[in-house]
């Protein structure tokens, strides 16, 4: 029917209006929920950015649908009422109510209403109808944005300011130091004997710590144990270095092995290879008895050097012995005229010994490097820890009432009037200076200068 088409045309306008209103109110609802979500995140200092955005979008979508479905979806009656507001004087709504009425008057009314509808084209939707809801939605979005910014600020503040924890107790501090020492020793590549010894020292330290009464006693023991560990590591390094230098010096005593000794002293693989080549070249031109004597002498010199060198590394000693065996094996069934065959056999043995020696030197070199790294790490760890200053402040929580070690030292400052002997005031000034040093951030060099000054005075 004509009037139905007319009404449908106007209904399309109101559907668009309804959708737009629903979206605006849906977004308004989503923005309010988002505002609350971000506010909760701000007060709990939790980053809820994605959660909040997701919630906002989902709520906005669902709310938009609900608003359209239950509030803004236009019925035909609503369309009729809106049309009538344009001066049709309730013709349309009456027509809609009587649409199923076939009486004469209903028909006349329908015809009259349809005629009036046809005369005009109404714009049912006006932009200013959206103004107020849009403004409210905008305010809600601004509020949501503000709460989002507040949440981000609070979360960032929480990252920059980690939660304040209670200061550790003295026992916790010492335990931490001990744990760090254990960790370093555990990760170090040192021989088992040394590692066991170092573990033992730390375990003994752990056992002793609780027996002390004062902070100073505990600290002193930790410091001494630490120094002892460092010293043992350093001695081990020196031993390893010495082991190589000893055999190198012994080999240098003999003409046949002098070059090899010089090469070993450099720790350089190329030098060692060059020395082996020299030793081969030396006997390459020899013939008969001369060859036999020289090779035998060389074997004897190597074995003598090994016997005379103390603490030689086992792998290195085995490699050198293998070299000596290569000489002996080559001349075992020597006959004049067999020089070539002898040298060939010797070269095979010499090459094998060379590989073993290089490996031994490499292993030794790595071991020394690891130990030096371990030593450096220990020293660095100790320097970084605040509780390991060079000079410890007098503990604040010391209730033992213990007097300072020197009974002649007074704990109060004394006025220097030019006549008071410095010995009388040295201790107190020393303590004050040390207190100050530990509380101030000074470069290590400056700290050392001050310590040296007081040592000099003492």
């Amino acid at each position: 029917m004509k009037h139905e088409k007319q009404l449908q045309k106007y209904r399309a306008q109101l559907v668009r209006e309804g959708v737009l209103h629903s979206v605006i109110f849906g977004m308004l609802t989503g923005a309010v929920i988002g505002f609350i979500t971000f506010l909760v995140g701000a007060f709990t200092r939790t980053n809820v950015l994605w959660v909040g955005l997701a919630v906002t979008i989902v709520i906005a979508a669902v709310a938009s649908w609900l608003f359209y479905r239950f509030r803004f979806r236009p019925t035909i009656e609503a369309v009729a009422r809106r049309i009538d507001l344009n001066g049709l004087q309730e013709r349309t709504i009456t027509m809609v109510e009587l649409q199923h009425d076939d009486s004469f008057m209903a028909k006349v009314q329908r015809e009259n209403a349809t005629q009036e509808l046809s005369k005009h084209t109404f714009q049912l939707v006006h932009a200013k109808a959206f103004l107020k809801p849009l403004l409210v939605m905008l305010c809600a979005l601004i509020l949501m944005g503000g709460s989002l910014g507040f949440m981000i600020t609070q979360v960032n503040a929480a990252i920059d300011d980690p939660p304040i924890t209670d200061e550790p107790t003295d026992d916790e501090i010492f335990q931490e130091m001990i744990d760090e020492l254990l960790s370093i020793i555990n990760n170090a590549n040192i021989d088992v004997e040394l590692k066991s010894e170092l573990y033992g020292m730390v375990v003994d330290l752990e056992a002793r710590i609780p027996t002390y009464d004062t902070y100073m006693e505990k600290y002193t023991d930790v410091l001494e144990t630490r120094n002892e560990i460092l010293q043992l590591i350093e001695d081990n390094i020196l031993e390893l270095e010495d082991s190589l230098m000893n055999i190198a010096e012994e080999l240098q005593k003999y003409e046949t092995t002098e070059v090899l000794g010089l090469a070993l002293a450099t720790w350089d693989d190329d030098q060692i290879i060059a020395a082996f080549e020299y030793m081969y070249d030396r006997i390459d031109e020899l013939l008969g008895q001369e060859l036999y004597d020289d090779m035998l002498q060389t074997a004897i010199d190597i074995e003598t050097a090994l016997a005379d060198a103390a603490g030689t590394d086992e792998a290195m000693a085995a490699a050198l012995q293998q070299l000596a065996d290569a000489y002996r094996a080559a001349i075992e069934d020597f006959q004049p005229g067999d020089e070539t065959e002898t040298l060939d056999d010797f070269q095979v043995g010499q090459d094998a010994a060379l590989q073993e020696l290089l490996a031994a030197v490499q292993a030794l070199r790595e071991l020394v490097e690891e130990l030096m790294e371990l030593q450096e790490e220990l020293e660095e760890e100790i320097e970084q820890v605040d509780e390991f200053p060079m000079f410890l402040p007098w503990p604040e929580d010391d209730d033992s009432g213990e007097e300072p070690n020197d009974p002649d030292t007074t704990s109060e400052n004394m006025v220097i009037d030019g006549e008071t002997p410095y010995e009388d005031v040295y201790d107190s000034y020393y303590e004050e200076a040390m207190d100050w040093l530990t509380s101030e951030s000074l470069p290590e060099e400056m700290r050392q200068i001050i310590e040296n000054y007081f040592d000099m005075l003492k």
Partner: protein, 358 residues
Amino acid sequence: MVNENSLKQFSKKSDLIFEQLKRDFIGQEEVVENTVIAMIAGGNILLEGVPGVGKTRLVRSLGRVFNLPFSRIQFTPDLMPADVTGTNIIVKDDKGNSKFKFQPGPIFSNIILADEINRATPKTQSALLEAMQEHTVTVMGDTMALNEPFFVLATQNPIEQDGTYPLPEAQMDRFMFKLLITYPNLKELNEIVSMTQITMEEVAESVCNAEELLEMRKTAKEIPVASEVQMYAMKLTMATHPDSEVAAAVTHKYVRYGASPRAAQALITAGKVRALINGRFNVSYADLNTLASPILRHRIKPNFEAITEHVSTDDIIKQIIKELGHDTPEPTGNHRPQAPTSPDDVEGKTKKSKKDRK
């Protein structure tokens, strides 16, 4: 049964009625329109106005236009009920026997002008009650039907209230409209004087009779009312009651008693007539809003606060309409023919066609 012919007839007759009335009655278009609406709807009118504004002339013109007998009853304090309704008198028959014969009073007419009704005693006023509502008169146990259509137009003077008997609420409720005739403006007064210098007699011609009027009444009754428009009429009525669920804020403040259900009936009935007069085939909110004041103003009892603050019932009704939220203005371009602009146009306008009038 309403058909196309009856609608055409209604439109034609209503145009002619207004045209003729305007020949005798200058200005007061709202009063004239509401009077015609009341006649077609079958209601009674209470006219309030100062003397000399044309109340009697209007009623006489109505009588001429509708070709209906007209009675004027001047209400005075000594007027008796029997003077209105009639009474039995003793007469002698042919044989000389005495018997009672009913002598009908002036109420036995179609149009009754009850002039200054508030001057008569309540007992005399109540003589009109049955006639206005039931269109019957009961005298000494005998009920007699009045002529149809029956229409009472009562008047009262708002100035001289001394020695008067205010109409009881029950009787006020019987009037469909209470119309206020105001003093004419300068232009209208000039026209009135110019016209009456020619002749004081009414010149309106008869364009409708009783049967046609009743037919118009039947036609108007068929006009449909949308359910929400009807509900609006109910809300308008109920909003005048301070205790109702839809009472307006202004009602709570200024009203003591609200309108009766007759007001709601009057709104719908008169609304249908007004719609059809204006060429519409449905009742609108504007119809109800326009008729609200004439229908409700005499049915609302203001309280003491309204009296002391000089808040009239018309003010209260306007505020109620505003609060109900359907106070859309009526579009311009009325269907009805315009009033003649000078006495010379009075003769010439009668024969114009409906098309020309539009």
